[in-house]
């Protein structure tokens, strides 16, 4: 177990190093000068100002030196300062991660709460009307990009019924949980559609196999009720796969909120990343990308390790 852990952690570090280097190099390769991007047209003929700002931002150092400085600082929790807003990148992430995390978590919860009964009942009624209906639904949910679902939800729940606001974010700390959920539910639902469909299909496929196991047939022969067999005997073994996938999806959802946050105008990491890209805010792009990658890799590694802990057969392999 110790060896496996070491190997996984080494992979994690290598992945993060690769991500940091790639992010830095990609941003570095963008044509143009970050200093001129900072300045208004009127200021561009002032070469002294350009050089002064370049020196202040230490942009006249070689790329390797700048990368080394950035990584060293990042290891100490300092992701630098935005060239555009002067805000510390770590502060921007700290301010915005609650929104993105809440969206991702809420989407995961919505996906889990709906996927389990849909998957289980579809497996139980394999080939039946409900199963066919859900098969159609999951295909549609997988085919529709999240931002299209978002627009549809806005049209339906905001314009048509006027039940929920289309934009904005009520912070729990300011306005309480209910007000917060009112602004979070639509974006989280749009975000949850794809994972919901994947998980429902996964659980269905897994449970169809489980329901044909001898011990399930035996339970039926003993006269146990269907609901009891489904929830106690069939769902438990199938849940392991689902839990793994939920974990992996959580990491992906943090990155996936980028578009949804923009459509719903939410103050999360994705919105900040996009505005950073538009503004050529190099430090912000690098910092947020590294952070998202770190969360994704750490969550993946954690799920891997959890899986190992839960299933002795994999450990033995």
């Amino acid at each position: 177990m110790g060896k496996i852990l070491t190997v996984r952690l080494a992979r994690l570090v290598a992945t993060l190093f690769a991500v940091s280097l790639l992010t830095f190099l990609l941003v570095e390769q963008l044509p143009g000068d970050p200093v001129t991007a900072l300045l208004p047209p009127e200021a561009l003929h002032d070469l002294e100002t350009i050089e002064r700002i370049r020196a202040e931002l230490q942009l006249d150092d070689p790329a390797l030196v700048r990368y080394g400085r950035w990584v060293t600082d990042a290891l100490q929790g300092d992701l630098g300062k935005s060239y555009i807003t002067d805000q510390r990148v770590a502060d921007a992430i700290r301010d915005r991660i609650p929104v993105t995390m809440e969206l991702a978590l809420l989407a995961t919860v919505i996906a889990a709460v709906l996927a389990v009964p849909i998957g289980a009942f579809s497996a139980y009624r394999e080939g039946g009307r409900f199963d066919r209906m859900m098969s159609g639904f999951t295909t549609a949910a997988l085919s529709i990009p999240a931002f299209v679902a978002a627009i549809f939800f806005i049209w339906l729940f905001t314009l048509k019924f006027n039940w929920l606001p289309s934009t904005g974010w009520n912070r729990i700390t300011d306005k309480g949980l209910l007000a917060n959920l009112k602004t979070a539910i639509l974006p989280a639902s749009a975000l949850a559609l794809a994972p919901l469909a994947i998980n429902a299909r996964l659980i269905r496929a897994d449970m169809i196999g489980t329901l044909k196991e001898d011990y399930v047939l035996s339970a039926r022969a003993k006269g146990l009720r269907d609901r009891y067999i489904l929830m106690r005997h069939a769902l438990r073994p199938s849940a392991l796969t689902a839990i793994t996938v939920f974990g992996l999806q959580l990491g992906g959802l943090i990155g996936g909120t980028v578009v949804i946050e923009t459509v719903f105008a939410l103050p999360g990491l994705g919105t900040r990343l996009i505005s950073g890209i538009y503004q050529r805010d190099v430090m912000m792009i690098q910092g947020i990308t590294l952070f998202v990658a770190t969360v994704y890799v750490v969550v993946n590694t954690a799920v891997d390790l959890l899986y190992l802990a839960l299933d002795p057969r994999i450990r033995r392999q």
């Binding site: 009127e42 561009l44 049209w155 505005s275």
Partner: protein
């Protein structure tokens, strides 16, 4: 509205495909730091306020464009209420001297930061924090009398020393340093408590227009700025009608009434009327409009023709909203890199322009019936517009354009060094906006249809697109070809034309004996010494007719040499619930009618909710 979501899917899907699904900053945005001009008189004085029932109108109305009528409010104003406005982007910062500020940022900043002068509906500049002004004969010294009894949000008084202290920050500010240089400000001197003198290093007859832009004219409290340089961005201290209450980046910024605001309405009622204003950045155009229609917000801005079209449709469907549309001077189109063959040859530039079907391009941009085809840097609503230039501009004539290209292709001395008969190669580049892509596809098809032009279409994100045209210091000669761009603004022409067409490099400047006078933002790399002389002459006189004639000559030269091309003028929109009034009817302290809402920027001091 039944199918509004469907209408939104197509462009968004396209955006996703090109990897830019999340709109944000916009090329349409008018930079705050590009200040304005149009001062004219030796001395301006405040005038008697207009009576309540007077309806003032300004601007001419061109057929087929948006409604740019600006008129004074006739309804009785009332106190209270909150306006929630959806903006197209978040402000990167609110320090007038340090942070770049485009249209959505200005909507926010204008609530808290007053400027020295304001623009009137007729395009001239009038008093705001500066009560009146005068210059010496050579336009090198400008003296401003300031309003009395003006307090900053933190209780400090506004006076001449404030401007002197501000100038210390402005001289080195990332934004204002360039404006200080363009305006040729050498020194700011406090003559007495309420009189300040700007001493210029060269003549500028339109100098007060620079004090309209927030970069130089935005008045901030210098002590607060010095005490907390970074923090000022989140909590700006100005003399404006509203004070910062809460700033939650990318979510909402709330400003509340300044109880000590210096302005009253014409009946002596203390301004502002509103209790507060909430600014919400909503980058997605469709969602921003939906938020207004659903009541999530009560107002919105847009700089997109497609959104104006959708807002018109919503109103036609019965939405209870007011559409405040503005046809600005800002004109879309592009530039040819006059430094790169074959675009260094006027036959190629003119030929390509004549093969550009403006109406089809405007239709692709979603601007049919909204945006007027451009022929110059001024829209027909502008006092600077010239019919003569409009007639001279090379309009769509495919065969004539093709003949010019053919002449170049068969010229043994063609500048691109290729063999006679070989196709020319042109890079056509636009940012990856769906409507812009549709527009350049129209142009690409027309140019390719000649069989003599190999068109290489490229798309870069907005900032890369700009940098590509800008090039690197110290020469700033971009490597672009035919490059989508926007031109002009409602500011005084000198503020953009003089820098746009100055020598593009120090070398060219030296060759013409203009040592040190160069402009990196001469993006087309086009320089004509005679035309530059006209531009310089235009800031050496304040007689409108003389200046008009000079700018007309400049536009005629552009029509002859075609360093740029045009699509349509940019229309902008502020849409609001119909009981929100005063956005288009605000008055200056002298009672003259303000400029309304150019570039979808509202002034909040006189806005009220009609109950």
């Amino acid at each position: 509205m039944k199918k509004s979501w469907l209408k939104l899917i197509a462009p968004l899907f396209a955006i996703a495909l090109i990897g830019a699904a999340c709109g944000g900053s916009d090329s349409d945005s008018e930079s705050s730091s590009s200040s304005d001009t149009e001062s004219s008189t030796e001395t301006e004085t405040t005038e008697a306020p207009e009576t309540e029932d007077t309806v003032l109108e300004a601007g001419t109305e061109a057929e087929g464009d948006v409604d740019t009528e600006v008129e004074a409010v006739v309804e009785e104003s009332s106190y209270g209420g909150t306006v929630i406005i959806g903006l197209e982007a978040e402000a990167t910062g609110l320090r007038p001297w340090e942070d770049g500020c485009s249209s959505p940022c200005l909507v926010m900043m204008k609530a808290m930061i007053d400027t020295m002068v304001e623009r009137r509906a007729d395009g001239t500049y009038g008093p705001w924090l500066a009560k009146s002004w005068s210059s010496n004969e050579g336009y090198t010294e400008w003296t401003f009398e300031l309003q009395e009894g003006v307090l900053f949000h933190n209780g400090y008084s506004f006076n001449a020393k404030t401007l002197v202290d501000m100038f210390e920050l402005q001289k080195v500010g990332a934004i204002s340093a360039g404006v200080v240089s363009a305006a040729k400000v050498g020194e700011v001197v406090a003559v007495d408590n309420l009189t300040v003198k700007y001493v210029l290093t060269g003549a500028h007859s339109a100098f007060p227009s620079f004090l309209y832009g927030v970069g130089l004219g935005g008045v901030f409290e210098p002590n607060a700025a010095n005490e907390d340089f970074d923090g000022f961005s989140m909590n700006p201290i100005g003399t404006g009608p509203f004070m910062m209450d809460k700033r939650d980046l990318d979510n909402e910024t709330i400003v509340v009434r300044n109880p000590n605001y210096w302005m009253s309405d014409e009946d002596g009622n203390q301004l502002p009327y509103l209790d507060s204003v909430q600014f919400r950045p909503i980058p997605d155009e469709g969602t921003r409009l939906d938020s207004l229609l659903s009541g999530t917000t009560s107002m919105m801005q847009t700089l997109r023709q497609g959104t104006i079209r959708d807002a018109r449709a919503a109103k036609a469907d019965g939405a209870d909203i007011t559409l405040l549309e503005f046809q600005g001077n800002n004109v879309g189109g592009g530039q040819y890199n006059n430094n790169n063959p074959p675009l260094d040859d006027v036959r190629v530039r003119k030929g390509l322009t004549q093969m550009n079907n403006q109406d089809a391009v405007i239709e692709a941009l979603g601007g049919t019936g909204i945006s007027l085809p451009g022929t110059q840097w001024f829209s027909p609503d502008s006092p600077w517009y010239s019919e003569k230039v409009a007639a001279a501009w090379p309009k769509f004539d495919f065969d004539a354009g093709k003949a010019l290209i053919e002449e170049y292709v068969n010229d043994p001395d063609r500048s691109d060094g290729r063999d006679v008969g070989d196709n020319i190669e042109v890079e056509l580049s636009c940012p990856p906006d769906p409507t812009l892509i549709a527009a350049i596809q129209v142009i690409e098809q027309l140019w390719s249809a000649t069989g003599m032009i190999d068109v290489n279409v490229t798309n870069y994100d907005q900032q890369t697109h700009i940098n590509y045209a800008l090039g690197a210091p110290p020469d700033f000669m971009g490597e672009h070809g035919a490059h989508c761009w926007r031109w002009s603004s409602n500011d005084d022409p000198s503020t953009f034309l003089n820098t746009q067409f100055a020598p593009p490099t120090l070398g060219i400047a030296a060759a013409y004996g203009l040592d040190g006078i160069f402009s990196p933002i001469n993006f087309p790399n086009y320089f004509d010494i005679e035309m530059f002389g006209w531009l310089v002459a235009a800031i050496s006189t304040d007689v409108f007719e003389e200046r008009y004639a000079l700018y007309e000559m400049v536009m005629m030269r552009l029509a002859r040499d075609v360093p740029v091309w045009y699509s349509g003028h940019t229309a902008t929109l502020l849409a609001a619930e119909s009981n929100i009034l005063g956005v288009n009817g605000w008055l200056l302290p002298d009672g003259s009618l303000g400029a309304g809402f150019p570039s979808a920027v509202a002034r909040w001091g006189q806005v009220f909710i009609d109950n």
